[in-house]
Symmetry: C2
Subunit: 270 residues, 2 copies
Amino acid sequence: MKRVRSIKTGTAETSGGGTQSIERAVGLLLEVGRADQHGARLTDLVTSSGLAKPTARRVLGALVRAGLLDQDEASRRYHLGAESYVLGMLAARRFGIHARAIDGLTRLSQTTGDTAFLSVRRDLHIVCLHREEGPFPIRSHVLQAGDRHPLGIGAGSLAVLAALPDDEVERAIAANTAIILEKYPAYSAGLLQSAVTRTRKDGYALNPGLLMKGSWGIGVAVRDPQGRPVYAISLAAIEDRLDEVRRRELIPMLKREAEKLEHLLRDAPA
Amino acid sequence: MKRVRSIKTGTAETSGGGTQSIERAVGLLLEVGRADQHGARLTDLVTSSGLAKPTARRVLGALVRAGLLDQDEASRRYHLGAESYVLGMLAARRFGIHARAIDGLTRLSQTTGDTAFLSVRRDLHIVCLHREEGPFPIRSHVLQAGDRHPLGIGAGSLAVLAALPDDEVERAIAANTAIILEKYPAYSAGLLQSAVTRTRKDGYALNPGLLMKGSWGIGVAVRDPQGRPVYAISLAAIEDRLDEVRRRELIPMLKREAEKLEHLLRDAPA
DNA sequence: GTTTATGGTCCATTATATGGACCACTCCTC
DNA sequence: GAGGAGTGGTCCATATAATGGACCATAAAC
């Protein structure tokens, strides 16, 4: 009995065997989720997923019938459906920061004026769950709810990466190297390594406009009761608003909110 | 070949064709969601879904790889995964009562002492999304988050049913008759009809212990901006605490919270 | 009236999921 | 400690169910 349990690397195509339509379905589901604001169009989903059109439509149809997706009668666009919402609310019992975390983001964005984010770690990536805009008029829209980036890319993501043990940092960077090379020209494996070191020294993560020039971010990790980083709280603003002086003001606020969440996670053990 | 389709899912049997594994996957997903508190065991999922064991395991495996489910290394039980949570948070932008609604439930349960529920309509069924317990020491555990009942079964569910136009009431009762006969001995199509009439007259729904003797409930519907009932807010308590006198106190409070939600739904059009 | 987008559908082909039978392990009981 | 009964997990020959190239429909643009 050899059966090597492949702890799959970044691109998760090596199926355990015998269920490709489910993989395709989940892929499409997440794709639609990412585009949910305005809805996802069939053609776009076809190209972004690489599936044949009839296949994509068949799968989408099944998801609509199952209630995980809705299709707008008029525009024919796909949106997340009621069942997805129900599922998420049930899952929130286990992952459940939700309501409380968003309160914290609102506090942060109101007192700082900038935009606050809650992200959740998902294997070797990070997914932006919520974006709460502050009153300051110049707002970066680089990070949106639903966006998914490799660990280390962006402030919150870097905070989580740096909070992992060394071997996992290694593994994450190695697994994502190809994607980073292709999609994040300002980044590199070496840069991530030194960014992790610096983040650990500083006690917070800084993204000096590496995703989009001029759009800076700071972030801290939120650890579960076992000490593993699962969420990140971060703030984004233009470079001028994140100089060293102001960062010294903001970081304690971020850390305070992160601690609140950590306490909530301890209290709600499922 | 006569494939005997287990009627488990209630209404979703007329597949458009060519995607049965997705239907199975979603079925299992919801099944796990319902049992998420303690996790779902393979054997139970096999019997409740009617699938063959290898099939169930293959599908569950695919869902785990996709991140929609987690499997506990030690107990081997299945739980909802991070990806389900992410999906739900993204869907919350469209269905988004979430945080705010739970505030309302907390207010209700604290001031009344009883247990408050938020349920969402899902086609011809209702799904309990959240249960907020009040301080009163005798608590009914008849309705749990994740539970799914036909429209009309239970107070919140009846409130939603009664808020639908007549033809849809007809359709819902007709579609659910078989399930009701089988699983809800205290109910019948005729009883539902008169319950709807009474609910409309009274302005609220009453469940006088029909699901479980002694466990009463009252509920009101929450309508979306188009006037269609989508959510229900309800309270559960023992019979003594829901007599006519106390109901006259409680109903206005329920209605006030329902209105708040309706306003929130109007403000967040998406 | 053609062009070029879109969404949607058909159906012969075969790659795909299927499930009966079986194994491995653990915890009982006697 | 042999048998039993409960788990979770796996094989693999079979035929079922998903596949996708080609095609149709509709709407707007030119």
